[in-house]
Amino acid sequence: MDRRAGIAEQNRDITLEGVAKRFGTKGRLVEAVAPIDLVLQGGRTTALVGPSGCGKSTLLRLIAGLELPSEGRITIGEETPAELRQRAGLAVAFQDPALLPWRTVAGNVALARSLARMPRDGAAVEDLIRLVGLSGFDRHRPAELSGGMRQRAAIARALAGLPELLLLDEPFGAVDELTRDRLNAELPPLWEARGATAVLVTHSVTEAVRLSDRILVLTPRPARIAADIAVTLPRGPARDPGSEPFRATCAQVLAALREHQLPGSIAAQ
C-alpha cells in the first residue's frame, strides 16, 4: 500500500480538545497555551499569527507531539501525533534550521528520506535542492551557507519525506524578500497537490494571507484564539499582494492583531 497516495480520501483533520500547556514548576508556572478547542481541516493550510512569544511555536510543537499537552488531547485523523510520527507521516521545518553540521546540504536533505524510511533517491533530493534555489550548493556544509540559505535547506529537508502533515515554524524568517516571494509561490503546490495538511507559524501577515486557507490570530500568552479568518481568495493572481482583496484580508488580520496586543506593547501606546 502506498500510504502517500490517497491522503485526501481519509479524514486528516487535526482536532484539539481542551488542549492547554503550562511550563515550569510550582511557583514559577508559565501558562503558554490556554485551553483550546479547535479543528484544523485536513488537506488545508492554516497559518498561526500572533505577537512574539505568544505560544504559536508551542502550539506547533504540541501538534507535532514534541511537547505533551498539560491538559486535553490532540488527534490527527484517527491517530495521536506520536502514532503519526511513528510512521513518519509528519515533518517539521524548524525555526532554527537544525542542520547537522557534518553533513552536506544534500546529505541533510537525504537524511530526512532515510529517517522517514524511504529508499534513497538522489534525483528527488537534487530536485528539492533546486526548488529552494540551492543548486550548486548541494556539496556545501551548513557552516558555509548564509542564514537564509540554511533555512531553505531545512525546508527542502522537511519536504523530502513527503509528509502528510507539514509543520512550518517561521520557515522563511531569514530568507531575503525576493527569494521569499518566489518560495511563497513555488513551494505550496508541492504539498497542496498531494493533499497534505500544513500548519504555518509566521510573523508576516502578508505571508499568512498568501499561503493559507485560514488564519488563526492568537492572543499574547497564554495563547487563545482571538480571531479565526478564512482566506477565500482563489490561488493564483488574486493572491498578488498588490491586489485590493488581498490588502483587505491583510487589514482584517492586522485589525485582529491590534485588538489583542499586550497592554505594554509599543503599538498600544
Binding site: A64, F94, L100, L115, G161
Partner: protein, 525 residues
Amino acid sequence: MSIAEAGAAGLRAVPRGLTRGLWLLLVLLGWELLARVSASAFVIAAPSQILQHAASHAGLLWRAFLTTLWAAARGFFWGNLAGITLALVAVMLPRTERLLATLALLVFCLPLVATGPILRVLYGPGEGPQVTLAALAVYYTTFLPVMVGLRAVPQGWLDLVRSYGRGGLTLLREVRLPAALPYAVAGLQIAAPAAFLGAMVGEFTGAERGLGVLTVRALRALDLPATWTIAVIAAGASVAAFAAIGALGRRLELAPPEVLLAAPAPRQSRRWAGLANGALALVVTLLLWKGAMEAFGLPQFFAKRPEDVWTYLLTDAAARARLLEALAETLSLALPGYLCGLGAGAGLAMALALAPRLSSAILPLAITLRSIPIVATAPLIVWALGRGAAGTVAVVALMIFLPTLVACRHGLARTPRAVLDVFAVYAASPLRRLLGAQLAAMLPAFFASARMAIPAAILAVTTAEWLATGRGIGALMATVASTSDYNMLWAAIALIGLAAALAHGLVSALERRILARTNPEQLAR
C-alpha cells in the same frame, strides 16, 4: 611598494620551517650555555651531554623505549575502550550517569603511586601493571569529553529525529556519535601522553625493562645526563603522539569541540536528593571494592577490604596520627600548588587576551608543553628547585598551569562575536572588553579545568613526594608498600579518594553558584 613593506614581504617569504629551525637552534644554544654556566649547580644537563649519553647508550635506550611504548599503546587501547564504553552507557541510560561519573572520578583519583605497588603484587613480574596503569591514566580524560560530546546535542537535532518517530539508536547513529567524534579525538589526544606516563609509573614499581626502570636507576645514581636524556625521550614521544592524533583529527576535517569539559551536574531540586546521591555513590564504591576482592578471591594479606581499613583506622591511634600528619603535609603543598597553577593559567590566558600578539608566540609552546608527562619533568623540577616545599608546589602548579591556560583560551575564544562587536562599536578598551564580555565566557572552561585539576594535583604531588622529596603521603605510601604494610597503604588510598571527592564536590558547588549568575545556559540540560 615601500621599503618597509618589501622588507616585511621578504621576511614572510622565508619558509616557515626555516624560521622554526632557527628558533630551535637558538633554544638549544641557550640551553647549552645555561647548562655550562650552571654546571657546578648540577641541575641542568646540556644538550651535548644528552646527545653523548644517548649515543653511547643508544641500544639500551631504544629497547627500553620500545618496551614502554608497547605497554603504553596497550594501555591506551584498553583505557580508551573503557572510557568510551562508559560514556555510551551513561548517555544511553541517563539514570546511571551521575553514579558512573562519580565512580569514574573516584577510580581516576586513586594515586598511581599506591595502585602501582598493589598491581605489582597482583600481577607479579611482567607488564600487567604498566598496561593497567596506562589504561587507568587515560580512561577518565576520554570518558568525560566523549560523554559531553554525546550529550551536548542541540534540542533542534533531537526534535528532528523525534519528529520522524525515530528513537535512541537512530539518534545515536545519526546525531550523537558524529557529534561526539571531535570530542573523542580531543580526548584521545590528551590520552596519548597520559598513557606514556601511566606506563612509566608502572615501571617504577619494579618492572625489569623500560624507560621507567632507567629513570629510577638514573635518579638513584644521581646520573644527571641520564635523567635528562630519558626525560627528553619521554617528552618527545608524548609530543609526537599528541601531534599525530591532532593531525589525524584535522585530516578528518573535524571542527574542534566547542567546550572540552562538562558543566557540573545540575543541583538537585531538593537538598536531600544530592545527599542521597552522595550516599549511594559511597555505598556502591564500598560494595564494588569489597565485591571485586571477594569475587576474584584476592588474599586478605594485601587486598584489604573496607572493613579492614575501618577497623585499622579506628583501633591504631599511632597509625592514624601518622597518616593524618602525612596527609596534612601533602595538602599543605598540594593546595598552594593547585591554586598557583589555576591562577597562573587563567591569569596568563587573560593577559594574552589583552595582548593578542604575544599569544601566537606563547600558545603553541604551551600546547606542546602540556603534552609532556609530569613524570618526565617532576624529577628535573625537584632537582632544580630543591627537595623543599618550593619544588613540590612548582610540580603541582606546572601540572595544572598548562591545561588551565589552554582551556581558558578556548573559553575566551568562545565569547560571542556579536558581543565583541558591541564592545568594538563603543571602542571599549581591551581591559573593559575582557572584564565585561570575555571573562564570563571563560568561566565555564576555567571551572571545568579546576575540576580536572584535582586528580592531576594528586598525581603530581604524590609522584613528586615519592620520586624526589620523600615526604608526605606519597612517600608514606611508597614506604609502606615496600614494607608490605598494606593496612596503611589501603587506608592512605581511601583517605586520598575521600579528600579528592570532597574537593571535587566543593569546586562543583562553587562552580554552580557562580555560573548560575554568569552563565546560566551552561547549567541547563
